[in-house]
Amino acid sequence: MAAPVSNSSGCWGVPEVYKHHEQRKVCISRPKYREGRNAKAVKVYTINLESRYLMVQGVPAIGVMTELIQLCALYGAVEEYRPLDEYPAEEFTEVYLVKFQKLTSARAAKRRMDEKSFYGGVLHVCYVPEYETVEDTRLKLQDRRRYILRAVHNKAKEKEQKESAEKEPTTSSDCTTSSATTSERIVMRHDKASGDDNTGETSNVSKHPSFPPLPLPPREYHYYGHKTQHGTVSTEDKMGTLHNAIIVTKQQPAPSSSSSQTYSEKHRLTSKPSVVRFVPRSTSLENRKRKMDEAAGHSMTDATRNTEPLIGPKLPEPPKLDMEDESLNTTVSLIRNTMKQVESVPDLKPVEKKVKPRRRI
């Protein structure tokens, strides 16, 4: 891994260490009134610094990638991830690159996971916008601008409503309309709080088990939390990326079951226009088998049925147990067969009991 020609390989090329990855020194000289809940460095966040791409440093090198990605997925759909093996890491730790589907998810994940302990290590999470493509950057800026415009627009509307409400504060209809947005917000917050409780269980004991339902006092840290809340409430989709705790890692079709999957896919693709359809081999085989079965059925009916005249209900077949795993299923059938064999030989010769001569000491 020599030349950092990351242009050609796109965003997943060789990583470089940038200054903004470093954890800045925490500021300790803040007067009380400007102190947030947590100690923070003096840093200005702009849209340029934010990104859907996060880098997670300090992951203990004990094979917990799945757990890490599951933790990430609590904050929103993860689109892609990979270990950054080439990135300089501290001893016995690993570095991961995680790409979220939405910026808000990445923001929430960063806020919740940074400086939290994870399997005995302390995570350092930072945005890595240098992994963005031009298109990523473009969309990020467009989304941000759109969000601001919508916020400005909503605010102007709210102002109008408030003014009209102030004119006639006693009429109930005005009260409900003006507070409708607020109530909606409260409900959303509660939703989110419960979602966060869930995350609290699996991750480490969170310092903020739930969001307080009331607006927060104007402190830096509080404000930040409040802002993101507001952001997710009003900007993001109604599903709320933060509630969504499902990993959307694209399910790779298992190679063993590929025939049926590809079939259904192809079927979907070709079913629209009735062009000459490509019939996959599996289906033609199935068809042939069915035809043969039918043919055989006609001639063999008597033979098969008459061998054992059946009267009354059949004995229930042994329940088919699906262990949802091929090897487990094989094991099950193996055990079944063995048991059958054992059962079918009931008159076992009683084993001659050899009286072992006791050793005399």
Binding site: P4, S6, C11, K19, H20, C27, S29, R30, P31, Y33, R34, V42, K43, V44, Y45, T46, I47, N48, L49, P129, E130, Y131, E132, T133, V134, D136, T137, R138, L141, R144, R145, Y147, I148, L149, A151, V152, K155, K162, S172, C175, T176, S178, S179, T182, S183, I186, L214, P215, L216, P217, P218, E220, Y223, Y224, K227, H230
Partner: protein
């Protein structure tokens, strides 16, 4: 009935909170103006710039003329002041009203000067601000050949962030003819916009 009362209280709290926010921001601005400590100034400036990220604060910040405060920082010697001021402007300029304020205070030339900053964060802010400031009346000034040439150079930069942002600028804010023209001019003579000054050797 009970719930309605609750909601009404919520609404009152909401407005109480917003006036609290205004007072708080006012305190910050006052401290910034009164203090002699560079460190305190930096901290307050960063706070204000971060507050500018939330559109909820936009009106208060406008009222407190924080836009001008940020613009004043662009000509400071202290590079942190410049970086934080640019960060604040980057956040504020997303808002159309703030954009107009910046344009009226000859923000374009102030920001363009900072394309030559040594700090990447400042340069990135400058590009984003220029994009935010673009509207029909300001477009010709922002797509000046010198700026385009600078962006062309950035688009070849080693830094992916700089490269990407410059690419977005060239693709979305300039016409193809403008870019081609700037490329032609670049072969002839070079402009100095966006070339960082040599670092002080200390």
């Amino acid at each position: 009935m009970k719930s309605r009362l609750f909601l009404l209280n919520m609404w009152r709290k909401d407005s109480a909170e917003s006036s609290g926010r205004f007072e708080y921001l006012q305190t910050l601005v006052t401290e910034f103006q009164d203090t002699d400590s560079e460190e305190a100034k930096e901290q307050v400036l960063a706070n204000l710039a971060n507050f500018a990220y939330d559109p909820k604060n936009m009106d208060y910040l406008k009222e407190l003329q924080v836009t001008d405060l940020f613009l004043d920082m662009l000509t400071e010697e202290n590079e942190n002041f410049v970086e934080f001021g640019m960060g604040g402007l980057c956040n504020l300029s997303m808002d159309p009203e703030c954009r107009d304020i910046i344009l009226q205070s000859s923000g374009i030339s102030l920001v363009t000067n900072l394309l030559s900053s040594r700090r990447e964060e400042t340069v990135l802010s400058a590009i984003t601000i220029l994009m935010n400031l673009t509207k029909a009346s300001s477009r010709s000034e922002i797509t000046d050949p010198a700026i385009l040439q600078c962006m062309l150079r950035f688009s070849l930069s080693e830094s992916p962030r700089l490269r990407n942002l410059a690419a977005v600028f060239l693709q979305d804010y300039c016409t193809e003819e403008q870019v081609a023209q700037a490329e032609q001019q670049m072969k002839g003579q070079q402009t100095a916009v966006g070339i960082p000054l040599p670092e002080d050797s200390s």
